[in-house]
């Protein structure tokens, strides 16, 4: 975290449990300047005042962030002791994430690392000493998690990949550094142009890695699987069955579930968010109507849908479902002897028949979804993505410098910069790492 306490950092800082409202905070010397580029309001931002307005920018769709509130705290009168901006927006995880991504593209901003806001508060004396230990725990816990937490197999793979990338970069750098520090010796040095190939490969890997991000996000937050179907088809019954507890209310009356209920379970080692939804049908009840709207939203953001049919209900498949992977379930088979064709699973929530098959089916579907990415690596943290975007840009700079035939010391400086960026994930590369490579690879010394 240090040495760069002077950077401007940004993070989602919504306290858990407050749905609907999200707060994104920017802290540091560039905070005000940055928000002024995005925030349109009748009033100017004033310290310690909440100002209403909308976020407007070429990278944001029209109307996406129409009503938001920005509060500006001028340093040192803020929790971090620095200039601080809080942006409150309405909307769920998707919008928060979108805003964060957009802000991270602003020049000079970077994603905060674990505990960094709190750390700054501490440094500026804004939180008292009794909380210092708590901060310590936080930093410590996150750091440990990065290395140890078994659930984070994804992070472990990421480290391996990044290590491999830095190794290749160090190798390139070694060639340049050896030429700079040992040019008085009879060693054949390959020309910097030879580095363009390996660098382009690294860049391609980075591109592929960046493409996994959206997906990785979902893995991190949990793969969303809503149960969708006509009222009374047995969605809530199946939801409870999958959870192994009576979480949702089940009645014989159609339209029982009005609001969505979600709950996390683990399948194949991955976190899954199961969502019970209101049955889809034409309705005039206002409460039920908004429930139906939410169900359609859920389908929109689903990774996989379980579509529940039943003999005693009529299911109209909504348009939203066309592009979403789905498992079709024909429920209540205990009631009938004839089964329609083209269903994936035939099930009875009452007798349990077909449930094992459904579980198997879910398992393999999840495993297939997860087995994408680069060498088993999926980017799932915004901070990591931020690192890789800057890294990719820096590799472009390296390649341009080589093409412009700059001296090896300047190309080396560009490469070191790239390594420093990667080092935000794996730890810093030291001059000794490079010298060790030189000594083991070249016969130097007189």
């Amino acid at each position: 975290m240090p040495p760069f306490v002077e950077d401007t950092i940004v993070a989602i800082s919504t306290p858990p449990g407050i749905g609907g409202l999200a707060v994104v905070r920017i802290s540091g010397s560039l905070a005000l300047e940055t928000i002024n580029q995005y925030f349109a309001s009748a009033q100017k931002l004033k310290p310690r005042y909440a100002t209403f307005g909308k976020l407007k920018h070429s990278s944001l769709s029209e109307g996406e962030f129409d009503d938001c509130v920005v509060t500006y705290f001028k340093g040192p009168h803020s929790v971090t002791g620095e200039d601080l901006v809080e942006i409150s927006i309405h909307g769920g995880a998707y919008l928060q994430q979108k805003l964060l991504e957009v802000l991270l593209r602003a020049p000079g901003l970077r994603a905060a690392s674990a505990g960094e806001f709190t750390f700054r508060s501490f440094l500026s004396g804004r939180i008292d000493l009794s909380r210092a230990e708590a901060v310590a725990d936080l930093i410590h816990a996150k750091d440990e998690a990065a290395h140890k937490n078994a659930r984070n197999q994804l992070l472990g793979n990421l480290r391996l990949l990044v290590d491999a990338m830095s190794e290749r970069l160090i190798h390139s750098l070694t060639i340049l550094e050896a030429e700079l520090d040992f040019s008085d010796q009879e060693i054949e040095f390959s020309p910097p142009q030879d580095l363009i190939g390996p660098l382009s490969e690294i860049q391609e890997t980075t591109n592929s890695l960046l493409e996994t991000y959206f997906y990785g996000r979902r893995l991190e937050e949990g793969i969303r699987i809503p149960l969708v179907g006509a009222p009374n088809s047995g969605k809530s019954s199946l939801f409870n069955l999958l959870l192994g507890e009576e979480r949702a209310i089940v009645t014989a009356q159609a339209g029982t579930t009005r609001d969505t209920i979600e709950k996390s379970i683990v399948i194949a080692g991955h976190s899954i968010v199961l969502v019970d939804t209101a049955g889809l049908r034409e309705t005039h009840s206002e409460a039920e109507l908004s429930g139906v709207d939410r169900s359609l939203d859920e389908i929109d953001s689903a990774d996989l849908v379980i579509l529940v049919h039943a003999p005693d209900t009529e299911t109209s498949v909504p348009d939203e479902l066309i592009h979403t992977p789905q498992i079709t379930v024909y429920n209540k088979i205990d009631l009938v002897s004839a089964r329609p064709e083209n269903m994936d699973i035939y099930l009875s929530c009452t007798t349990g028949e077909g449930f094992e098959l459904l579980k198997k089916r879910l398992y393999s579907q999840v495993v297939n979804m997860v087995n994408v990415g680069v060498g088993g690596v999926v980017l799932s943290r915004e901070r990591h993505r931020d690192v890789f975007i800057r890294f990719k840009d820096q590799i472009t700079v390296c390649i341009t410098s080589i093409q412009n035939q700059l001296g090896p010391e300047y190309i080396a400086s560009d490469l070191r910069q790239a390594l420093d960026i990667l080092g935000e994930i794996t730890g810093k590369t030291t001059p000794d790492d490079i010298l060790n490579q030189i000594f083991s690879g070249f016969c130097v010394g007189k």
């Binding site: 975290m1 240090p2 040495p3 760069f4 306490v5 002077e6 950077d7 505990g115 750390f119 501490f122 440094l123 000493l129 210092a132 230990e133 901060v135 310590a136 725990d137 930093i139 410590h140 996150k142 750091d143 550094e177 030429e179 700079l180 520090d181 040992f182 040019s183 008085d184 010796q185 009879e186 412009n404 035939q405 700059l406 001296g407 090896p408 010391e409 300047y410 080396a412 400086s413 070191r416 910069q417 730890g427 030291t430 001059p431 000794d432 490079i434 010298l435 000594f439 016969c443 130097v444 010394g445 007189k446």
Partner: protein, 627 residues
């Protein structure tokens, strides 16, 4: 030799490259100084190769000059061949190197020291350091001849002499370097004071007779035609340009060396000390890089018109006859005769994590270490440390604050910071790759960076300082001119045909920034007052302009380094009880006991998270204490 008193402000032990700079600095800063050394005539003797400077080392020499040291001047006076290394690359990594006349170099240093006011030289061997009863404050030294001296600051610069042990084949004997006796007693008295010590090794090649060489079978290597001096104060520089000669080993040479390995103290395990990987012996090279069929050798004269040459590249501790027989397979050396064989030497050093950035020991107040005793190798590394130790020994007597150069200010800063925060067990040598702010630390701007500091310290002369300031002002003016003077596009397009054409007029700076364009290419666009600047200054300015983007980026990085870098860590902090910090980091921190957060963060195995926690815990403890 007699001395005038029993008590001195400063005593320096050892008249090597470190000791000389230390003693000159303290006496020039007005401290009564006694330099105790075994042999006055050996002052500034070059134990190994007859050369000063080279990659990264040349930077150190320039910095020493900017801070008022002596090494650069001595080199300019006694050099017999000068060469700028890395000339085909950018300025940041150019590095000057000189072949010196070893005898003249030493004589120059003897003369300089003898004529230095406030400096007395005493020829004797120091055998023990003395301290107060608690062992916490230095009090003086005892010598072989039975003298005892008191001092406020003591600077130890014993080089390779502490319990030195020379190896040639299976023979080994006590010596400080060939022909000089080892120093016995100092190590033991330091261990008694609680210091940790270790053993290192280095080696040197044979010296051969000029008239036994057939030069017609070698390649002549001359220096630069218009060399640049090391020192800013050297004017009308017109040094000799004597030849060195290049030849090569071959497979037959390697066969003989391989056959002699069973008598090599390196390979039989007789030598315990760790040697430098960047100065491998020939037997090391032959074994580790078996696929190489030939290694380059440089034959370097040890002094002007010397009858004695140094075989650079052939350092060895093999038995004399193996050295001789293998060397006789080399083209031009078929009938070579030795003046003396190569040898290896093992010696005591004191791991420099026991030092503060001032070169004062953490354990004993007033006691300073500089040079090879700190596990470095090289004349330049030694001289740089000697200078800093001398400056701080003097300032600590005055009660002035410490003089510490940052990593972003000088190679000397990198050198000392590395020494005290790294815990390596290999002899340390300077490389440009060790400097993360390499593009800022150029050899040509050493005086721009440091002369003012040297002047304020009282070491750098007024004339040199004013010269530097004038040049600085000229540089600023010229750079501004480059940035504000526009040239029409048709003029530019007509000039550089290989470049993409431009549509609008451009500043001179932007023209210079285009790939492949140098200041020589645009001379016709420059007014006389710019073209009349000295070529050295003009190139410096052009470099600043051309690479402004890079320089700015490094400057920003330095600025971004947090203020917490400077945050001091209390001496008594108890790392082992800091449970929140990882076990490995706690142990490292406890061992090295860094003085600042910046240094803590550079210790290997200490993660950024550990550093954050350290800041928290320290702030917490400090405020508890003040309650």
């Amino acid at each position: 030799m007699t001395v005038s008193r029993e008590s001195y402000d400063v005593i320096v032990i050892g008249g090597g490259h470190a000791g000389i700079e230390a003693a000159l600095a303290t006496s020039r800063l007005g401290k009564n100084t006694l330099l105790i050394t075994m042999e006055t005539a050996a002052l500034g003797r070059a134990s190994c190769n007859p050369a000063i400077g080279g990659l990264a080392k040349g930077h150190l020499v320039r910095e020493i000059d900017a801070l008022g040291g002596e090494m650069a001047k001595a080199t300019d006076h006694t050099g017999i061949q000068f060469k700028m290394l890395n000339r085909s690359k950018g300025r940041a990594v150019w590095s000057p190197r000189a072949q010196i006349d070893k005898k003249a170099y030493s004589a120059y240093m003897v003369n300089t020291c003898k004529s230095q006011a406030g400096l007395e030289i005493f020829e004797d061997e120091a055998t023990a350091v003395t301290a107060n009863e608690a062992g916490s404050v230095i009090s003086g030294v005892l010598t072989r001849s039975g003298s005892s001296f008191k001092c406020q600051s003591l600077i130890l610069t014993n080089g390779t002499f502490l319990n030195g042990l020379i190896h040639i084949g299976n023979k080994s004997f006590s010596a400080g370097r060939i022909g000089e006796s080892a120093s016995v007693g100092i190590t033991e008295s330091l261990i008694e004071l609680g210091f940790k010590t270790g053993r290192l090794k280095t080696g040197t090649p044979p010296r051969i007779k000029r008239d036994s060489i057939d030069f017609s079978k070698t390649t002549i290597q001359a220096g630069d035609k218009n060399p640049e001096p090391f020192s800013f104060s050297t004017k009308n520089f017109d040094p000799p340009n004597e030849y060195c000669y290049i030849t090569n080993t071959n497979q037959e040479t390697h066969r003989i060396i391989n056959g002699g390995l069973e008598f090599s103290p390196l390979f039989t395990g007789v030598i315990q000390g760790v040697g430098p990987r960047y100065c491998p012996s020939i037997e090391d090279k032959v074994v580790r890089f078996a696929e190489k069929t030939s290694h380059q050798l440089f034959l370097e004269p040890e002094w002007s018109n010397a009858d004695q040459l140094y075989v650079n590249g052939f350092s060895s501790s093999l038995p004399e006859e193996v050295q001789l027989n293998s060397l006789r397979t080399v083209s031009g050396l078929e009938n070579v005769e030795f003046i003396r064989p190569g040898y290896a030497i093992e010696y005591d050093f004191f791991p420099p994590s026991q030092l503060k950035a001032t070169m004062e020991t953490k354990r004993v107040k007033g006691l300073f270490f500089a040079g090879q005793i700190n596990g470095t190798s090289g004349y330049e590394e030694a001289a740089a440390q000697g200078l800093i130790a001398g400056i701080n020994a003097s300032r600590s007597i005055d009660g002035s604050d410490a003089f510490v150069l940052e990593r972003s200010e000088a190679y000397i800063g990198v050198l000392i910071d590395d020494l005290i925060t790294k815990d390596t067990d290999e002899p340390y040598r300077m490389f440009t790759s060790r400097a993360e702010h390499r593009l800022l630390l150029r050899y040509d701007n050493a005086h721009f960076r440091l002369a003012e500091k040297g002047f304020k310290l009282g070491l750098t002369g007024q004339t040199l300082y004013e010269d530097v300031e004038n040049q600085k002002a000229l540089a600023v003016k010229t750079e501004a001119f480059f940035n504000s003077t526009y040239i029409k596009s048709d003029v530019i397009n007509a000039m550089v045909e290989t470049q993409a054409t431009v549509k609008e007029s451009q500043t001179l700076a932007n023209i210079l920034k285009r790939p492949g364009v140098s200041v020589e290419d645009i001379q016709s666009l420059l007014p006389d007052w710019v073209n009349d600047l000295s070529p050295t200054l003009l190139t410096l300015i052009a470099t600043n302009t051309k690479y402004a983007g890079y320089i700015e980026r490094e400057r920003l990085q330095v600025e971004r380094l947090s203020k917490h870098q400077q945050m001091r860590i209390p001496d008594a902090v108890d790392y082992l009880s800091m449970q929140a910090i990882s076990f490995e980091a706690r142990q490292k921190l406890d061992k090295i006991r860094p003085e600042t957060i910046g240094r803590a963060s550079r210790i290997s195995g200490v993660t950024p998270a550990d550093v954050s926690l350290l800041i928290i815990l320290i702030k917490k403890n400090v405020s508890r204490e003040t309650h």
